[in-house]
Symmetry: C2
Subunit: 437 residues, 2 copies
């Protein structure tokens, strides 16, 4: 593989306009749900997200332009998709080509027979290292990668803010994956959408103690796609206007302050309340939309129980030490400070035993294969703990073993990363290296 | 049993002040959730319910007063409960005794050594013919029975409206079980609660085509009692004020009109939306409250699918022909017009196969033991259908067989019924006939 990558690197720039990037997934803590303009993807309210570490979850995209390609082609996880079937991918492509065309007006004339770059066809390959469309926000990292990667190949010098507006046209939440750390997608007021872009609240270095556990409940495709779901909510939920006009704007301010002050108690409370309210307006939609299942609800109950524990020594409440949030799917993301990760994982495992283990079983280290998910460093010193003596727990058989299929331990990470050409997803012939039938 | 009952009947009135009544369960179609006064049980919004036929679901209560009893005693389903542990039962008792005391001021003097009836102790026995506290509104029929029965024994001449205010103090929704048919609990505005009572919208004879299937999902005790649940909602749900101030009042008017016009489409749509909104504000409560489980959600999806069917002959939509509603539990009540019951039961059974049957199995007649639940006539001509040739269905194994444990087929019924003394739940000694250890 690396040999082939090296070959690509040796192709001359004349023949090869290529870029490879990885982009992170982001998880909203004040949710985006509802558009005021479906075509431009303008939201009814601002949202705030945390960018997760792309060492663990990411989309990797390679875009190559060539004057010899006859068609724009797109492969997702090795499978070719018809671009014309994806109006949103087309919108991103058309928008960036139009910017390139404008730029070409300012450049010198081309040699005889030479086509301008804006007319070269693109081969695009994209891969997620996690299941697509399972409520893990694959579209957010996917469209962010697409916008960054195409703009690089077309030699456009766009800021993260400008790129966020283009990624937004692919998938609303994608605009927040243009930055690392803590990000606000400002809803904006301009009908054109020019002021509906992402801004950084704080970089990934701001709150290094904040980590996250992703509890993978299911990787089946979610039942209601979020695009049609939120459109039905806007049309039918009678509680939705109060959320949009009053509750969400208030929470945006509170959440921004909680993040800037690294106030975990407030951060956690708002995140949990806002996740619940998002699912509440889904339920108030007609017909109702469900993303949480019995296991999701079990996780919510477990987190509230974890947060209501008292210090056995003093009898004092230990306070809010974990916060769940659920996007349009059954999987949970639980935010937790580094020094509480161990205890929380033990607590989860005792209520949601791994598939292979029976009650009262030795399951540490690594009951869920937490760190086998990616060839990547772990998020915190938790690894050392797992290497320690195995522990025995009285597993509570509240749910079937394996109801929580996997835990991914991650933290807050940076924005899009440029990768060397050796990381290309395309081979010398411009076809995906790892094609699937 | 009947012999003993006959003996009781022969006791002289001097020795025996006894009454036995049965009362129906009611199911709200515009929900009551939230009190503006916890002590007086005054609701934040008006609600509307349908009284179900007590031939199928009922509470039966016997109250006997005797000058020889030394204590008030209470047996629920044959098990003695400590009255002082139930402030609400105490409230009902104290309220009715106070009215009796007022009345006694207008009566002639008692014989030497005779105690006024208001000072006689009561033995109370109550039985539900369905599981208590499983979200089937046992408290509604229970407190209605208690209010009616005690007032009879104390020889009070109270109207249904007056009794509804007393039953309300036991359990809010109980006030609606004082009438048959279609009932509104008016929230009232008086701080004393004097105007917070039930009124009849239409009697049980008004809409004889309207029937109901109760899908019993679970008979485990529900996790969050409604009293504490609704109190937390009022305190923490930020969407709740919109429901109370705008949505519920509008739906009360619309639902009343739909009932009066026997407009099933509107009745069904409002009932489903209001059930969903009630569960939505539960989810918007912090910590969130869950009553629906995966099976409940499956039933909701199934009803929406049933309602989106088209006539195979014409291709025309068949329209809304079923309406789910869920109270504080996982069980569904599905309203359906008589001529669609057969088809709906088939549809339910093909998605939620009974426990004992495998896919592609002969399951009619009576797959769920629908009519074995009570020694009572069936609600409609459906019985004849069930007696017809058994049918074979391709059962869809969407859910585990037995996820819907039982279906109770019922219709709209009358209000409290006086029973003869032969139906007494107490034996000659004033102890429950069917006591449990």
């Amino acid at each position: 593989m690396e040999v082939e990558g090296a070959q690509i690197c040796e192709l001359s720039e004349r023949e090869l306009h290529e870029a490879t990037v990885t982009t992170p997934v982001n998880i909203a803590v004040v949710k985006y749900w509802g558009k005021r303009n479906n075509d431009l993807i303008l939201p009814t309210n601002s949202s705030i997200s945390c960018t997760l570490n792309q060492d663990h979850l990411n989309t990797k995209t390679t875009v190559r332009a060539s004057s010899s390609y006859t068609d724009d082609r797109f492969w997702l996880n090795g499978i070719e998709e018809t671009i014309s079937n994806s109006p949103r991918l087309t919108t991103v492509l058309v928008t960036l080509r139009a910017i390139r065309k404008e730029k070409e007006k300012t450049l010198g004339p081309l040699a005889e027979g030479e086509k301008p770059l804006s007319e070269w066809k693109l081969h695009i390959a994209s891969e997620n290292n996690f299941p697509t469309a399972a409520g893990l926000a694959s579209s957010s990292s996917g469209y962010a990668a697409l916008a960054v990667c195409i703009s690089k190949v077309l030699e456009l010098d766009l800021t993260a803010s400008e790129l966020s507006k283009i990624a937004r046209r692919g998938s609303g939440s994608a605009c927040r994956s243009l930055y690392g750390g803590f990000v606000e997608w400002q809803h904006g007021v301009d009908p054109s959408g020019e002021d509906s872009c992402a801004v950084s609240i704080a970089p990934e270095s701001h709150w290094p103690e904040l980590e996250a556990l992703i509890l993978v409940v299911s990787d089946v495709k979610k039942s209601t796609p979020s695009t049609s779901g939120m459109s039905t909510t806007v049309k039918t939920s009678e509680l939705f206007p109060l959320r949009v006009n009053e509750v969400a704007p208030k929470r945006i301010k509170q959440m921004e302050q909680a993040i800037l002050e690294k106030d975990f108690n407030s951060f956690a409370t708002i995140a949990m309340k806002d996740s619940n309210q998002f699912h509440a307006v889904c339920l108030d939609t007609f017909p109702p939309i469900f993303y949480l299942n019995d296991v999701s609800r079990g996780i919510i109950t477990l987190v509230h129980r974890f947060n209501s524990q008292v210090d056995p020594a003093t009898g004092e409440p230990l306070g809010i030490r974990a916060a769940y949030t659920f996007d349009a799917g059954a999987n949970a993301v639980i935010f937790v400070l580094k020094n509480n990760v161990k205890e929380l994982v033990e607590y989860i495992a005792s209520h949601f035993p791994p598939a292979t283990l029976q009650p009262t079983s030795v399951y540490f280290p690594d009951p869920f294969g937490i760190f086998r998910s990616a060839d990547a460093p772990t998020a915190s010193g938790f690894e050392e703990y797992l290497k320690a003596t195995p522990k025995t727990f009285e597993l509570l058989p509240t749910f079937e073993p394996g109801s929580v299929r996997r835990i991914i331990h991650t933290n807050i990470g940076d924005g899009p990363r440029n990768k060397p050409c050796s990381a290309s997803l395309l081979n010398v012939s411009g076809m995906p290296r790892r094609a699937k039938d």
